[in-house]
Amino acid sequence: MTYNIDDKGYYGEFGGAYIPEMLYPNVEELRQNYLKVMAEPSFKKEFDQLLKDYVGRPSPLYFAKRLSNKYKTKIYLKREDLNHTGAHKINNTIGQILMAQRLGKTRIIAETGAGQHGVATATVCALMGLKCIVYMGEIDIARQAPNVARMKMLGAEVRPALSGSRTLKDATNEAIRDWINNPVNTHYIIGSVVGPHPYPDMVARFQAIVSEEIQWQLNEKEGTTKPDYVVACVGGGSNAAGAFYHYLDDTDVKLIAVEAAGKGIHSGESAATSVLGREGIIHGSKTLLMQTNDGQITEPYSISAGLDYPGVGPMHAHLYTSGRAEFLSITDDEAMKSGLELSQLEGIIPAIESSHALAILEQKKFNADDIVVINLSGRGDKDLQNYIDYFKL
């Protein structure tokens, strides 16, 4: 079995491009060009250079000694939190802005939930001098004020999504509508491995730098390119896609995807799509998604705005149904506790998204000689207010 995309844009039975005809030319233009553009030496050179000098790659692979002692296994943290703008999101936006330039686009749109992808998009638009419009749910705008300010300071226009639940799902709908209304000059930078083909594959390829680095960094430290486990949190799933990418077909390496259980998987306030979701179509691809029996998409919940999405990308749907990856769910409380623990054991304040990945250390037993790589997808500065409120700091 293959865990990568096939030539029709499917991971197993998931993926495809379920889009209105109004979007077909845009998506088709991208589909026909993305692999060609990514293979151009000039593209690779510019992408690699920016990742190195602008983003600050490679991000360290850090052996977390005190965390390892506590959990009696060898834990490495892939420090995506040290990237410029504070998360893995920038890897993809750098790639897509270069793609947009080469396709002759002059206007960029994006959706954002917590604001990390919006900030990463606003950043690369400033870098390249392109007009940037970020759609963000009205509710998210209110609860992520610092990131809204960052985007504005970077020159982006933040447009509130006023429809539906006024969160990420609706911001995505609004961005797609903007694209329908502006089909010629606009590129839509999707922030996760979701959306119509080729987005899930393109975003995964831009994020694949994460697992590429893990391979050689681990080889330097441990004399092997293969950890026993790679662990990452999954909302849409872009940081997990990046951390898993070079290990997808290497079944010696176990993959663990961590979803947000919110207030409990069956509490009615959860985002654990692998447990609560069924096959369906959202934002242009066939995947697993949380929905009513009638096929209406339901509202997810997580304390972490970045995991608060009612579906997962089609790659993850395939990894789940095929059994290639183990999917675990972590509650708000478990995640917050692990975030505090990492802060105090290692001096690293993680994004609450990443805290979900860390929290499996309490849930799952590893052997003493196992090498466990946890993708620390982002830093916790943006979440400080949440941590303050939760722990009454």
Partner: protein, 254 residues
């Protein structure tokens, strides 16, 4: 012969009206359909509401959201429509997004449509190639015409392909837009309408998006067989009782 094709044979410009089932009130659907037919509308698109409608503008999305709040479901709509053919004879089309149909079961959905007397489906996010490879046979088995969309950006090659697999009409989206976002047609759109008319497709074209009054209806049907009105009708429903539908239809056609 399917009612859509019978209607398309008529030597007149057709007016098709879209409304969201379950709006403004859950049980208005049948009464709206009956009033539309009585008022001289030629064809009706019954919108099956969806929580995340990508191609709809704010007016239709708001009406779908309200319909869902009112409790509309696929099953309820089918129950409301079960005797519709006792009183209504014009073509009825269900327009909706693919996910609710997929959850109902595509074959079960199609069978139900045939039982009721639905003539066709418009599913904006069901890709042409997926339909052609996976669902065409099922639609045909239950006598349903699937209507495809084209836009000003659709290539001639793709339009010819869509024409080749269509058996009713082609839904010609007037401009690059979601529903309800345009007011009046300019030279660019007229040129597009003419370009498509000159392609001499086997299927007639019906224009949708951006038609709201007699002027835009007349412009849209200068080169096409008919036009579809959605958002403007929904706005009318919001402000007027159902028995006033005739006033709206008269303002478009006469």
């Amino acid at each position: 012969m399917n009612r859509i094709n019978q209607k398309l044979k008529k030597d007149k410009k057709l007016l098709s009206i879209y409304f969201s089932a379950g709006y403004p009130n859950l049980n208005d659907s049948v009464s709206i359909i009956q009033n539309l037919e009585k008022s001289g509308v030629d064809m009706i698109e019954i919108g099956l509401p969806f929580s995340d409608p990508l191609a709809d503008g704010p007016t239709i999305q708001a009406s779908s959201t309200q319909a869902l709040k009112n409790g509309m479901t696929t099953e309820i709509l089918f129950n409301q429509l079960k005797d519709i053919r006792n009183t209504v004879s014009i073509p009825l089309i269900i327009m909706g997004y693919f996910n609710p149909m997929l959850q109902y079961g595509v074959e079960a959905f199609c069978k139900k449509c045939q039982d009721i007397g639905i003539d066709g489906l418009i599913i904006p996010d069901l890709p042409v190639d997926v339909y052609n490879e996976q669902y065409k046979a099922t639609f045909e088995k239950y006598g349903l015409i699937n209507v495809f969309l084209i836009t000003p950006q659709t290539s001639n090659e793709r339009i010819n392909f869509i024409d080749s697999i269509s058996e009713g009409f082609i839904y010609m989206v007037s401009s690059a837009s979601v529903t309800g976002s345009s007011s009046g047609f300019g030279n660019e759109q007229t040129a597009y309408f003419k370009r498509i008319a000159d392609m001499n497709l086997k299927n007639p074209q019906i224009v949708g998006f951006g038609i709201s009054n007699n002027e835009t209806f007349t412009q849209a049907t200068q080169f096409a067989k008919g036009a579809i009105i959605g958002s403007a009708f929904i706005k009318h429903l919001l402000n007027n009782p159902i028995h006033k539908i005739k006033d709206f239809v008269n303002s478009i056609k006469y």
